[in-house]
């Protein structure tokens, strides 16, 4: 199993969620994060004092999936989250050794 972690633009969340549901992924966890990267931020001015804000609001999605699903998940996310502009985000894939569903105690594949 893998944990697929994607950093995307906030307003893309709904589309990505739908894309994942479409390929049979029915659970995911979302976190509001701030991202720093190539995409340049904006400037805020308060009473003449200028502040360059380089951290931009992003959404982090974590999905645990069985290894075989990974490619389609990656493609699904990529397709749904892309705008073609800098700042679209990244997808990271990490190994997941074990998964447990708290309610039932089911493990691994059954837990997802």
């Amino acid at each position: 199993m893998k944990i697929v972690m994607a950093i995307i633009k906030p307003f893309k969340l709904e589309e990505v969620r739908d894309a994942l549901t479409a390929i049979g992924v029915h659970g995911l966890t979302v976190t509001e994060v701030k991202g720093y990267g190539r995409q340049k931020g904006h400037t805020e001015i308060y009473r003449g004092a200028e502040y360059a804000v380089s951290f931009l609001p992003k959404i982090k999605i974590e999905v645990a999936v069985s290894t075989d699903l990974v490619p389609s998940v990656v493609d699904g996310i990529t397709a749904a989250a892309r705008t073609g502009q800098i700042g679209d985000g990244k997808i990271f894939i990490m190994p997941l050794e074990r998964a447990v569903r708290i309610r039932t105690g089911e493990t691994d594949a059954d837990a997802l």
């Binding site: 805020e44 001015i45 003449g48």
Partner: protein
Amino acid sequence: MMSRFTSPALLGGLALAGLLCGPALAQAPAAPTPDKGDTAWMLVATCLVLMMSVPGLALFYGGLVRTKNMLSVLTQVFAIVCLVCLIWVTYGYSLTFTNGGGLNDFVGGFSKAFLAGVDATTTAATFSNGVVIPELVYVCFQMTFAMITPALIVGAFAERMKFSALVLFMVLWVTFIYFPMAHMVWYWGGPDVVAEAARGLAEAGDGAAKAAAQTRLDEVTADAGLIFQWGGLDFAGGTVVHINAGIAGLVGCLILGKRIGYGRDLLAPHSLTMTMIGASLLWVGWFGFNAGSNLEANGTTALAMMNTFVATAAAALAWLFVEWGAKGKPSLLGLVSGAIAGLVAVTPASGFAGPMGSIVLGLIAGAVCYLFVANVKSALGYDDTLDVFGIHCIGGIIGALATGILVNPALGGAGIPDYVTKPGELSIAAYDMATVMWAQGKAVLLTLAWSGIGSAILYKIVDLIVGLRVTHDEEREGLDLADHGERAYNY
């Protein structure tokens, strides 16, 4: 020598009738009874000025600090209001509005300490002959001014001053700086007393009688604060409130030093929403402050209201557009900061200037204060957290000087009242710019000196006793948790 009574200085002095404050002299029961319309208005004006402090000013300031210091600002302002309330009725009112004997030029006495002799039947004079209001509403109205002035200073050293130090400092500050300043600018005998003495002189025969009457009139006109005698014009508190608090703030932020991360980290306002609410309530409440300062509900009150509308709008837009041009975006903070700058500037002029003059005053105040806050401050590099100096002191000085010009009837001003020439009725004295401006200038300088030097001494004293500033770790954690053990928000 009657000439003395037409001397500009005195006319200026009498012009102070236009000032915020009538005397606290309780009138004999025989005296005129209050008009309920005036009483109703003054009751409301008092509520409005309290609303300026809490929640108005507290929110305006609180919204501009970081989340971790929000609660400390709210606590400081609310606590100051309560402290000054008790001090005012204990000895503040007396020190401000009674005769101080030998020290009368600078401060009053203790004859009305604990409101001795003040009750539901005593009255206070207004600026119209034969018109009075219940003394207690006058005491309350004046109290709200004494409450908000020290609270204004808080903005200068916000996010780093120790609460205990702040409490001690404010007790000392109102006692040694505010009450004397208010006495110097606002204490006098009231129109009826002057009229009576003037009538006495007019009716006096010649020789001894005339001399006696003359002496009496001299006494009466001399029974006033120093700046009042000079003839400075200040309708609602440009000097006593804004310049006074503004300079005290500057001195404070210089002595406490900059906040950690100043100039490096993003010290952005945590809630401009709160700041906008505060600014709006300040505007609404300011009508009680300026129009209430007329102590009556009449046409002049309406004039003060109109000026408080237009000067504010003009200054708000001036700041907005200047910043729009200079920085490329019209900001809410600029808009409301301009509004406050306009309110500050029109305060001393509100009952003297005409609407069009007030618009010009507002435009100037908005633009100049912007330049000060956006450029001068960073150039000089002091950390006046919420720009108390840049807005209240600078705006107050602009207003104080402009008042001397805009009062001129030729410019649509109300002119300088003269209670002496025609005893019992109000006449307008001839306008002499040089004299008026000289009086205004002296008033501004004395205020800057008294409050600037006096405050510096008080800061040092407090620093020795309890220490002015929190530790680095406390400042990083934020005053809310460090000083008060609470958080403003637990979302």
